[in-house]
């Protein structure tokens, strides 16, 4: 592709509007409480942030993997689905009692165990996928897109065969299903849990990137892979690790998302992958900070629209994407 036009940097008034727009619904609760009252707004916003945090877990993996090695994995959604299915299987069989109880410790133990198992499976799968398939497609974007799409289709079908072809119910651990009130606002514990996990991993990823040597290598590699190699670093090994890390994150996102929606189905990964793509599109390639901001934006926007016009919730994301792309075609915080 010949030189792209340079993105103009956003003037300040545009930034102000961009931030202010999100507070319009809050404003509505003040002037027209019968349309939407404050507790409803708070509940919606909380839901939106929780949804955003879970999409973030998939999006951040995608964006770092692309930033680092120029690889776009259209099969990334399978890790999400696998995480969810492993959680579902474990919660329905081995950990059934732990999950059905209302005790915090048992619940947390169940969740932790599920996350560990899901992560181990995803690490293995991620390493295999990277070694066997992705390696063969370096540098050829078209091939990458096609091959990863094909592999994605195959794995989803395998999940249908091995796991389940139906939509299955996912049990949320008892303690987390309870809600409590802050003033008039109802808060479900599971929502807070999702938000906490998202923020926890955001902090962990930032720490990893900013305070470890490997993180430094990754950040440099995202900016200029050729140069970091010429400085003596074998990016190939780093990449396998990062790919596996992306898989683990997606799996955790999927596991928690299953509880959010209270069901699992083989197509959930692909469905959410689209949302993750939207986040990456909005955030710009390679940016972790952009991913969390973009993810929360998408989550909140989705929930706001869903409140007023439920049918347009998904479709309205098109508008969000268009507006942002018009302002900044490479996304809000592109690192490349």
């Amino acid at each position: 592709m010949s030189e792209r036009m340079q993105d103009k940097s956003m003037p300040h008034w545009v930034k102000a509007i961009a931030i202010g727009v999100w507070f319009i619904p809050l404003f509505i609760t003040w002037i027209k409480p019968d349309l939407m009252d404050f507790p409803t707004w708070a509940s919606m916003t909380l839901s939106g942030i929780a949804m955003g945090c879970l999409i973030f877990l998939m999006a951040v993996g995608l964006t770092i993997i692309f930033g680092l090695m120029d690889v776009l994995n259209f099969a990334h959604g399978v890790f999400f689905t696998i995480g969810a299915f492993i959680g579902w299987k474990l919660f329905n069989t081995l950990l059934l009692e732990w999950v059905e109880s209302d005790g915090f410790l048992l619940n947390i133990a169940a969740i932790t165990l599920a996350i560990i198992v899901a992560s181990l499976v995803n690490i293995l799968l991620g390493i295999l996928m990277e070694r066997i398939i992705i390696r063969k497609t370096y540098g050829d974007h078209l091939k990458q897109i096609l091959v990863t799409m094909g592999v994605g289709i195959i794995v989803v079908e395998l999940i249908r065969i091995i796991g389940s072809a139906e939509v299955e119910t996912f049990i949320i651990p008892g303690w987390f299903t309870e809600a409590f009130f802050i003033g008039e606002v109802m808060v479900i514990r599971y929502q807070l849990f999702s938000i906490l996990m998202g923020l926890l991993f955001f902090v962990l990823i930032q720490w990893f990137l900013n305070s470890t040597k490997i993180g430094l290598i990754v950040r440099a590699g995202v900016e200029n892979p050729q140069m970091i190699k010429a400085m003596g670093y074998n990016l190939n090994k780093v990449f396998t690790g990062i790919f596996a890390m992306g898989a683990v994150l997606a799996g955790i996102g999927g596991l928690i998302w299953a509880g959010f929606e209270e069901n699992v189905d083989a197509a959930m990964g692909d469905h959410n992958l689209i949302y993750a793509f939207v986040v990456v599109i909005i955030a710009g390639l390679g940016s972790v900070k952009g991913s969390i901001i973009g993810a929360i934006m998408v989550g909140i926007f989705f929930n706001y629209v869903a409140f007023f016009v439920p049918q347009l919730a998904a479709g309205s994301l098109i508008i969000l994407m268009c507006i942002i792309l018009m302002l900044k075609p490479s996304g809000l915080f592109p690192q490349k």
């Binding site: 036009m5 592999v151 289709i153 689209i274 439920p310």
Partner: protein
């Protein structure tokens, strides 16, 4: 001095002779002949249906090839345009049921206009962002368009779609002569439009315009240096491809007399044409038709495979599981072709029977 032909003219005549006699002309003509006479043999519905699907999706795949193989743009949004055409037709039939001819004509016009607008937007974006980013954007758009169609059920009939009342002259009950019915008429209508569209695409890609396109695909910077405003070429090519794609949607709606989000807007539709183009060969137009033929055969023949697996190898139930899932084999086929036959059947044939260049 007698008026003998110059060497250049002689070479041109020779090349034209070669072209006319070459397989590249003979096979398509043979294929066309088969399509022309097929209904006269009173075939089963299954056969005619297969033929129509091969035609429509073959041409649809060819339009996709114009974008991917000739213009070098990978877009997952092609299903959107197919859906635009299909839904325009269905909705017009619903609104003006008394004048089907007008409805069909208007459908073409409206589909063309909508496609032109959306395709122009797409072309604009394809210039501003990296190819992979663009692929993601089109995927998201196509996905959300399908969801919109499902959600806006008052307008689009939702998941159940819209059933169309075909005009009498296209209906199965209208008897012409012998075994030829209104449906046969519809078949020929579709055939004519498809041949027209395909010829248009052939002319387009073999024209000087098409050659410029090829040079842009191979080396954009050089083309720009040579003075071609690459953007306008791309824009025209993309809009052209998408408008024709929407026409394919119209034909599909007419044949099935039914549209639904799943059959006209789903991502699998784009994946199907993608694999058709891959099987046949990118950048060849005919590859789309060949790929369409093979894919329809495979899809139709799969239940047979399942029966074989169940009867011959009952001790391996998983074989039955695997062959029962079309998508699984589809995915495998996809990956295998990309790795081992990236230039498709036509590319492979060209390599096998490579004549030395003049």
């Amino acid at each position: 001095m007698n008026a003998s032909l110059t060497p250049v003219v002689q070479a041109r005549l020779l090349a034209r002779d070669n072209r006319i006699k070459s397989p590249a002309t003979i096979f398509p003509l043979m294929g066309l002949f088969v399509f022309l006479v097929l209904p006269l043999f009173g075939p089963s519905y299954f056969t005619i249906d297969l033929a129509v699907k091969v035609l429509i999706f073959g041409v649809f795949a060819a339009t996709f090839d114009v974008m991917l193989g000739y213009t070098g743009v990978l877009s997952f949004g092609h299903s959107m345009f197919f859906g635009f055409g299909a839904y325009s037709c269905a909705m017009l039939f619903r609104e003006i049921p008394d004048s089907p001819v007008l409805a069909i004509a208007l459908a073409f016009v409206i589909a063309a206009v909508i496609s032109a607008i959306v395709a122009s937007l797409m072309a604009f974006f394809s210039l501003r962002v990296v190819a992979i980013f663009f692929a993601m954007i089109t995927l998201a758009f196509a996905s959300f368009t399908e969801i919109l169609a499902i959600q806006l059920s008052s307008v689009t009939g939702g998941e159940d779609g819209i059933t169309m009342q075909l005009p009498y002259f296209f209906d199965l009950s209208y008897e012409l002569t012998g075994s030829l019915t209104g449906q046969t008429l519809l078949y020929y209508f579709i055939l004519v439009i498809c041949v027209l569209m395909f010829s248009l695409m052939l002319r387009f890609t073999n024209s000087p315009f098409g050659r410029v396109l090829k040079s842009i695909r191979e080396n954009e910077d050089r083309s720009e240096a040579l003075g071609y405003k690459t953007f306008y070429f791309r824009l025209f090519s993309i809009v052209f491809s998408c408008i024709l794609a929407s026409f394919c949607g119209i034909l599909f709606a007419l044949w099935l007399s039914f549209v639904s989000p799943e059959s006209t807007l789903g991502i699998p539709i784009t994946l199907n044409v993608l694999i058709m183009v891959l099987i046949g060969g990118m950048g060849t137009l005919y590859g789309g038709i060949i790929g369409s033929f093979i894919l329809q055969l495979l899809e139709g023949g799969l239940p047979q495979l399942r029966i074989i697996a169940d009867e011959q190898f009952p001790q391996y139930p998983w074989l039955g599981d695997i062959t029962g899932r079309w998508l699984l084999l589809f995915g495998l086929l996809f990956v295998l072709i990309v790795f081992f036959f990236p230039s498709g059947i036509i590319g492979w044939l060209k390599q096998r029977f490579q004549k030395s260049p003049t």
